[in-house]
Structures are given as structure tokens and as C-alpha cells.
């Protein structure tokens, strides 16, 4: 079971994503409408993924992701952004963002996020490769 936090100001933004997660039966969905509330949740609960809107109540999404990475680098993030893929890569390089989301994320985006999370979890659990003496 994954625990995923949705951080947004506009209520309807993640409706499709949330619906898809709930229907999957594999996600515990949490929600926060302020950055303070989101940071509080992140400090109290083990989160697998935080999905962030482009604009939040006190800052833009990229700034919030930056804060989150500083507070807990283990948490994966996905971010809504209107930037081109090239600019998004430039702006978020080093923050390890799992995925850029379109302005109106849909069910397919939710499915892709879950697939990417599954891949990362698999890689984290791979048996150690063997050291070779040279």
C-alpha cells in the first residue's frame, strides 16, 4: 500500500488522479491545501509520494518541492507544471522529481505515476550486485 499526499489549492485539480488512486485499492490518499499542512503531514507520516500543484497558497510548486527535498529526501515527488519538458528538466534538475504532470492531470497520469513508483521500489529492493576485485 502506497501513501500519497496531494498538495493543492484548487479543490478540483487532482479529482481524476484521486479517483484513480482510490479505485486502484493500492493507495492511501492524503490531502493538504496549504504548504504548512503538507509539511506537517510529511513530518508525521511516512509518505511514498507527494504530488504538488503548480501554484500553492504561499509559493510555487517547485519551491515547495525544494523545501520537501531538504526536509526529507526519501520522499518522491511529482509536480504539475506548464513549463516545456526541457525547461522543467532545467528547473527541477537535482530535485529528483519523478514526473512532470500536465495542468489537468488525468487517470492515465495517475497510472503512470504508480508504474514509476513500482519501478523505483523494485530497484530499491534489488539484491546487491556483486563486488569485483580488480
Amino acid at each position: 500500500m502506497l501513501t500519497i499526499l496531494l498538495v493543492y489549492e484548487k479543490l478540483t485539480l487532482f479529482a481524476s488522479v484521486k479517483d484513480s488512486f482510490v479505485k486502484s485499492g493500492t493507495v492511501n490518499v492524503l490531502e493538504a491545501q496549504t504548504t504548512d499542512a503538507a509539511l506537517k503531514i510529511a513530518s508525521e507520516i511516512s509518505l511514498d509520494l507527494v504530488i504538488v500543484a503548480e501554484q500553492l497558497n504561499t509559493m510555487i510548486g517547485i519551491q515547495f518541492v525544494n523545501m520537501l527535498v531538504q526536509a526529507n529526501p526519501l520522499i518522491n515527488t511529482a509536480l504539475v507544471s506548464s513549463l516545456s519538458p526541457e525547461d522543467f528538466h532545467e528547473e527541477t534538475e537535482g530535485l529528483g522529481v519523478l514526473m512532470q504532470l500536465p495542468l489537468e492531470p488525468q487517470k492515465s497520469d495517475a497510472e503512470e505515476m504508480l508504474q514509476k513508483m513500482e519501478r523505483i521500489i523494485t530497484l530499491m529492493r534489488l539484491p546487491q550486485s556483486k563486488e569485483v576485485t580488480i
Partner: protein
Amino acid sequence: MVHMAHHKKAQLSFGGGHNTINGEKGIMSKVRVAIPSEGNGGLDGKRAGHFGHCDVFTFVDLEHGKIKDITILPNIEHVQGGCMVPVNLLAENKVNALVVGGIGLRPLNGFKQVGIDVYHDAVRPDIRPIVEDFIAGTLPMITENDVCGGGK
């Protein structure tokens, strides 16, 4: 929840040098240094510019300031958002210090969290002089001002 490997922080430092492992002064006994490398790696190999995309990690095991053993460990597939995968890999393999040419904010914070010190040299491509400087204690630790990209 994705679980990270944690290992005990090395409370060691290099006698006579400026480097300290995890900020503790003392006499070094054993330290494992990892260097992201191209191709087959090794002491006479070349460093990889992006640690997450390196072919192998060259491990240099130091004992009392002398090279005891050189081994290589193949890297794991790099995927977008998978910054913590190599952090986990190196922690599982008991690495104490990592030397990078560049690194992002998230993996840097991840290495801090698992107790691996990160050192920085963005200029020299060869592994051997980097190891020599590490042993001499003249290699600087990376700061958040040195991180790659938008995470600055």
C-alpha cells in the same frame, strides 16, 4: 514506504589531513571510499561526471591511510526520480565517503541521511589523483552551493 539502508556512521578521520568522516576527529582505521566511474573503473580508470549514471562504482578500501583493496560494483539502472537508488546501493555496501564531480540536492541530502560524506572535485577526470588527495585529506567536502541544477 520505501525503506533505506542505514549503517552506522563512521566515526573516523584521516590522521594528519583536513578531511574528517562525519565531522569526528580521530585516527582513521577503515574507510571505504566510492568513486563513480566510467567503464570498468579501477584506480587507473576515469571518473563519471554524473554519479547516478556511472557504469560502476570504484570502491577504495583504506586502512590506516593506506590502500588495502580496490573493488568495483556495477551501478543499478537509473530512472527518473530514482535518486535514492544509488544512495541505498552505496549504504548497503558500507560506503563511508563518496567523491563526485556533481550531484543533485536530493541525493546529496539522501547521502547525508544515511551517513555517507560527499566530497567534491569537478575538474580532474582521473581516479588516482582524487584518491591520493582524499588520503592526504585535501579533498573538500561538497556544499549545497555546489549542487547541480534547479535544486540550488
